[in-house]
Structure formats: structure tokens, C-alpha cells
């Protein structure tokens, strides 16, 4: 592990920027994908309208972070982009098609005239959200378990991504997104329906933490270096705080959902929980971008490309965060079930 001594060069900066973009994508689109997963639990049209209205003004922006993830990976780590995408071809195509269904459902749903047609697009929203979430979890698991590389190309078969571990990570992401969605609704809704989503959040929080434990226990057995990192001295000194922090956040979440009355707290704690999981994944993978063989530096774009983009990123990303934050601020507060959001 000669690379554990961190050198803060441009490649690391870009790895961090990309990690930030992916984290933001995961939590933002995570909660609106979560709404789709929770949709079947709400049978009434007015409840479903409310749920849609709670994200209608922001879902476009949420999904843009996925384009940033794809485009950013190609720009900053073109070799990784060129290996990962063919390697994970089926789940990526499935994710893209599923996102089409759920994305257009946001708009089409309001345009339907018949019950059947509405049910059809509600179904597209549910199915699309579920499959996209599952596919993202599978993609994550497949990357974690390692990708076979030869020269500058993927060298495995086109079913390598499908293993019990990737199914586990797929389900974990579905549960996690549903949990985020429930926390979001807890923040945006009030009255009887909020009571219901709070109950769901309690159960889903438990399930999510359960999945985190399972994935965490399975990961070190995938590749030898993961085991070394998490269970051998002295690395354990640096890695042990992560699971401890997860435990603390888990307890705080339980408290906030059961006794505390502040509606924003569970959502914020859920973001922190996702952040810790993300950190844990980062620790496992580091210093690779494609475990177990391609490091960040091997896949990185030349310095000229990195510099050129960095100039823009340093200026633009804070601006993007500012106006995205502003858009959320404009549509803040509880939804009035009588009026949508006007």
C-alpha cells in the first residue's frame, strides 16, 4: 500500500470533485427516486399528487448531477470511463431506460385523461424508479467487487456484474433511497400523511442500516486489500472511526424519528449517513478507480485537461450550488395539500 501516503495533486482534486458530484447525485436523485419506490404504498391520487409536487420543481436539477458524473468521469478519467461502461453495459443501459420512464412520468402524468393511462404512467414512475435504483446499486457493487482489465479495455464477460454481492448492493440502494424519500416527505408534508411517512421512515431506516452492516461485512472478503485496510493494524486506527460514526448517526436517527419533533432532522441525518457510507466506499477503493487494477493516476486525463477544467470547476461549482440551493429555498416549506405549491 505504497500509495496510502496522500499526495494532493490534481488527480486527487479531480477524484474529490467527482466524488462530490456523485455524492450529491446519490442523495438528491436518491430521495426523488425514493418517492417512486414508496409510490405503491400510497394508493390515493391526492397523496400521489402531493408527492410529485414535492419534487416537481427540482428533479431536473437533481438528475443533472448524473450527467455531471458521466461527463466528469469521461473528462477527468477517460480510461476509467472507457472500461467501466462496457463492463457494466447491461445495468447501465437498464438504468438509462428506467430513468427515461420515470423522468417523463413527471410530466406525462399531468396530461393523462383516462384512469388507465394515469395508472400506466404511475406504473412507469414506480417501475422506472425501482429499476434505476436497483441498477445503480448493482453498478456500485460490480465496481467494488472488481473489474477484469486487459491493456486499456474491459476483458471480462457481459454477465460478470451479476453476483449475489451486486444483488445485495442493489437492494441496499433501493432501501436507502426509499429511506431518503421517506425522510424528504417527512420534511415536506404535514398531518396524517406525515404520520404515515414517519412510520415508514422508521422501518426503512432500520432496513437501511441492516443493509449497510451486511454490505460492510461482505466487502472486506471481496478483495484482499479491502481486508487489510479495514481489519489490520495500523490502518484500522484510521478506518475504525467510520463504522463508529455510522453507529452514532444511526442512534441519532432513531431518536429523531421516534422522539424528536424537528422535521428536518431525520433528512439531514440521512444525508450524513449516506455521506459516511460514501466515505467508507472511498476508503475501500482508494487509490484505485477500478479495483483491483487501475489506479486514479493510471486512468487520469493529462494535466492540461485537468487544469483547463479545474479553472471552470472552481468558479462554476460554487455558483451551481448557490443557485441550486436558491431553487430549493424558493420552494421550501410544507406543501399545502389544497394548492400544490402556489
Amino acid at each position: 500500500m505504497e500509495n496510502l501516503g496522500i499526495s494532493f495533486d490534481l488527480t486527487v482534486v479531480w477524484a474529490l470533485i467527482l466524488a462530490l458530484a456523485i455524492y450529491i447525485y446519490v442523495v438528491l436523485d436518491g430521495f426523488d427516486l425514493g418517492l417512486g419506490i414508496l409510490y405503491p404504498l400510497f394508493r390515493e391520487k391526492k397523496d400521489r399528487d402531493l408527492m410529485m409536487n414535492s419534487v416537481a420543481p427540482v428533479w431536473d436539477g437533481n438528475e443533472t448531477w448524473l450527467v455531471m458524473g458521466g461527463g466528469g468521469l469521461m473528462a477527468a478519467f477517460p480510461l476509467a470511463y472507457a472500461i467501466i461502461l462496457p463492463a457494466l453495459y447491461p445495468p447501465i443501459i437498464a438504468m438509462l431506460l428506467a430513468l427515461i420512464f420515470r423522468g417523463v412520468a413527471f410530466e406525462f402524468r399531468w396530461r393523462t385523461e383516462t384512469r388507465l393511462s394515469r395508472k400506466l404512467w404511475d406504473g412507469a414512475f414506480i417501475g422506472g424508479s425501482f429499476i434505476a435504483s436497483m441498477a445503480q446499486g448493482v453498478i456500485l457493487g460490480a465496481l467494488l467487487q472488481g473489474i477484469e482489465v486487459e491493456g486499456r479495455a474491459y476483458a471480462g464477460g457481459w454477465w460478470d456484474w451479476l453476483t449475489p454481492f451486486t444483488i445485495l448492493t442493489g437492494l441496499a440502494v433501493v432501501a436507502g433511497y426509499a429511506f431518503l424519500g421517506a425522510c424528504w416527505l417527512n420534511l415536506k408534508l404535514e398531518g396524517e400523511i406525515q404520520h404515515r411517512v414517519r412510520n415508514m421512515a422508521r422501518i426503512l431506516g432500520l432496513v437501511t442500516v441492516g443493509f449497510i452492516v451486511l454490505v460492510s461485512l461482505a466487502t472486506p472478503f471481496l478483495i484482499g486489500i479491502y481486508w487489510e485496510k479495514w481489519f489490520t493494524f495500523p490502518q484500522i486506527i484510521f478506518t475504525a472511526p467510520v463504522p463508529i460514526a455510522v453507529a452514532i448517526i444511526g442512534i441519532a436517527l432513531a431518536r429523531s424519528l421516534i422522539v424528536d419533533g424537528r422535521d428536518w432532522l431525520p433528512f439531514v441525518l440521512a444525508l450524513a449517513l449516506f455521506g459516511l457510507c460514501f466515505l467508507g466506499l472511498g476508503i475501500s477503493i482508494w487509490p484505485h478507480i477500478i479495483p483491483p487494477s487501475v489506479t486514479l493516476w493510471e486512468a487520469a486525463a493529462p494535466e492540461k485537461s485537468q487544469w483547463f477544467m479545474l479553472v471552470g470547476a472552481v468558479v462554476l461549482i460554487p455558483m451551481i450550488l448557490a443557485y441550486t440551493g436558491f431553487a430549493y429555498w424558493v420552494f421550501r416549506g410544507k406543501l399545502d395539500p389544497e394548492q400544490g405549491y402556489h
Binding site: 469521461m74 477517460p78 461502461l85 417523463v104 420552494f331
Partner: protein, 472 residues
Amino acid sequence: MEQVLGFDALLLARIQFGFTVAFHFIFPAFTIGLASYLAVLNALWLKTGNERFLRLFRYWIKIFAITFAMGVVSGIVMSYQFGTNWSVFSDKAGPVIGPLMAYEVLTAFFLEAGFLGIMLFGRDRVGPGLHMFACLMVAVGTAISATWILSVNSWMQTPQGHIIGENGQFLPEDWWAIIFNPSFPYRLAHALTAAYLTTALVVGGVAGWHYLRGHGHNRGVRIMFSMAMWMVAVVAPLQIFIGDQHGLNTLEHQPAKVMAMEGHFESHPEGAPLILFGIPDQDAQEMRYTIEIPKASSLILKHDLNAPLDGLDTIPREDQPPVGVVFWSFRVMVALGFAMLGLGVWSLISRWRGILHTDTWLHRAALVMGPTGFIAVTAGWITTEVGRQPFTVYNILRTADSVAPLDAPAVATSLIAFIFVYFAVFGSGVYFLLRLMAHPPHQGETGVEQEVGPMRAAGTVPGTADPRTGAK
């Protein structure tokens, strides 16, 4: 190489990219123009206080919302198509085109998406000033997006500013030269103008429909028809001029493409004929059944009747683009371009005679011309993209050397899935759009934020007496 029904993985990957990108571009070709149109309508409403402009804004924003959503989801596919199907290309060209596409995301996509929510739903929350600003940001965002992606495409057509590294990657040397490569200004102008023209034709076509349905007294219909026809009358001739300039630029940098467009298999040392029609036979390297005007091609391309023009006989067979596709798609584009010019001139004459709103045949023509912008745009893209073949990066990287190491069945399966999903989903979308367009803008037109439509909000909106009046 493994094949599915005679298609190898390379051809399947090409079909898949062509299909997904052609489908995708239909939406931005419309939203680029429509975003600007909406910004203009909103500005006119704020400036004049004339309720008709607000009515039109609300009428078109519902159409915009659906189209934009389809553009977003089909666009996400594109940002992954490069990697899934063209991974070798992505690895090699990534250091050059990746940062440009990253800038597209950072400067355009976020801007559009960030302000779209406020544009659609936020008028009452942020006040008219900020709402106008949001409309402008969305409009500007669509144009910035086009700028970056056209720079990428132009670099693939006329690459410069890079070196080739030891690992086979294209490495950036001079970003200015890369971004402002020789074909970029022409392509950008041509594509943006095409988007505005496409939108004007759609707006004019919708208005034409409502005239024919007896809504000629509707002020909203009249305003949008008049605006659309002004736009067509001004932009169509401009577009023909820009297209000609773009063609001259192509002749200079990608002569083989122009030879294919013109159907010139043979070199003509004493002035080349303009082949109006003919059947290209690339195997025999000749045109059959041609109808041609002697020396006219030299006149157009070189401004000299007797200027020599090289033909495809100067290009090795393995470096020639597929002539049939390029030859015909170019003719479709040009023919539609002149038909648009005709519509524009016709509208000017009718306007001058004072019969713009009563000229039934003009309204019929506008209706028929309504969707032609999409056809012309697609034909134009086919001309330039197929004309670049057999290369992805012109003269440097062959398409056959760009493709991902995928098996034909994998690409075939995903291609079938894309075709099925796109026709089902976007077919439904077009149906919803046509239904929205089928009713005329009416008094008390609601925007997306106030609809009491079948699904949107549960209650009625204060101050809007009967939002559905006049609908359908």
C-alpha cells in the same frame, strides 16, 4: 466478427448511436428556440401588460415542459453512449472532448435545470423580475449547451490543437484552437439558426391549424402566427446563406464530404455540373440517371463556371463516405430549406396585402410546413455525420477503431430495447404535445403551476374563475 442477422457489433453500435442521438436532438432543436420564444413572450407581457402575451406564454410553457423533460432523459443516455458503445473513442478522445462536455454540464445543463423549476412554477413565489431572469437563464442555457456540444462535434470534423500521445490518446495542446476549430463557427451558426427556424415553423404550424379550425378571430392565434411568420421570413434566407458558407468551409476542410453531397465520383477539371438528381452507385463509382446543370456546381462552390473540382476518384475507396445516404439527405435538407424560404416570402406578400390572417392557403402551407424543421435538421445531421465516415475523428481515427469491445448480441439487445422504449415513451410524449397544441390559447390560459388538470393540484386556484374554459 460475430453477427446478429448480418449486422456486426460495429454497425449495430453505429445504428444505436445514430438512433439515440437523432431522437435526442429533435427535442433540443425545439426547446432551444422555444425557450427564447418564451423569454420574449414573458418580456412582452411584463413590458406591455397585455394579457395576450401571458396567455401565449402559459400556452407554450406546457408544451415546453414536456419537450424539455424528453430532452433531458434522452440526453442522459447520450452522456453514457460514448462510453458504453464507443469506449475506445472515449479513451482516446476523452482528454480533448471530455473537458468540453464537462463545461457543457457546468455552464449549461445546471443553469437550465436550476432555473427551470422557477420558470415553470415560481412566478408567484419570486416575483416578476426574478421570474424573467429565470426565463432568460433557461434560454441562455440552451444556447450555451448547443455551443459546447457543437464545438465537440466540430472538433471531430475538423480536428486541430492536439497531439497524439504515446498511449494513443489525443492530448490537448491548445484549447483555443480545439474549441474554435475551423468548422465550429459555421456549424454553430447553422445549427442554432436551424433550431430557431424549427421552432418558428412549429409555432406557425400550430397557428395555421387553428385558423383552419375557425379560430382566426383568436388574438392569441393571430399574434403567434404573425410572430412565427416574421421569424421564418427573416431566418429562412439567413439560414440558406449560412448553410452555403458552411458548405464552402466543408469543401475546404472535408472535400470528400462535399464530393458525396454533390455526387461527384469523377473529377471535373473544366467545371463540375450540379447534379440535381441521380442514383449513386458507389460500387461502380458512378452516378446513374442524372439530371444535371453543366458547370453549376463549380459556380456555387468556387464562384467560377470553369473552376476544376476533384471527385471521389481522388479518394481511396476505403476512405470514402457512403455516397447514397449523404447525397440524398443533403437534397432533402436543401429542398426543405427552399420550401421554408418560399413560405417566408409568401407570408411577406400576404402581410403586405393585408390578408395574413385570412389567407387560407397560406395557413394550409404553414400547417404542412410545421414539422419540416425537424426533418431538415435530422437530414442535415445525417449529411454531416455520415459524410465524416469512415472516421469518428476526421482523417485520424477510424470508426472501426473507435468501437467498444462488445459482442454483437449485447449491442443488438440494447438497440432493440432503445427502439422499443423510445417509440413507446416519446410517441406518447408527442401525442400529449399534439393534444395540447390541438386546443387554441384561450382567455384565462393556465400555466403549469396553476393547472387544475386531471392530476396537478387538488384544489382550485384563487383568482382563476374557470381555467378549463375554452379548452378543446
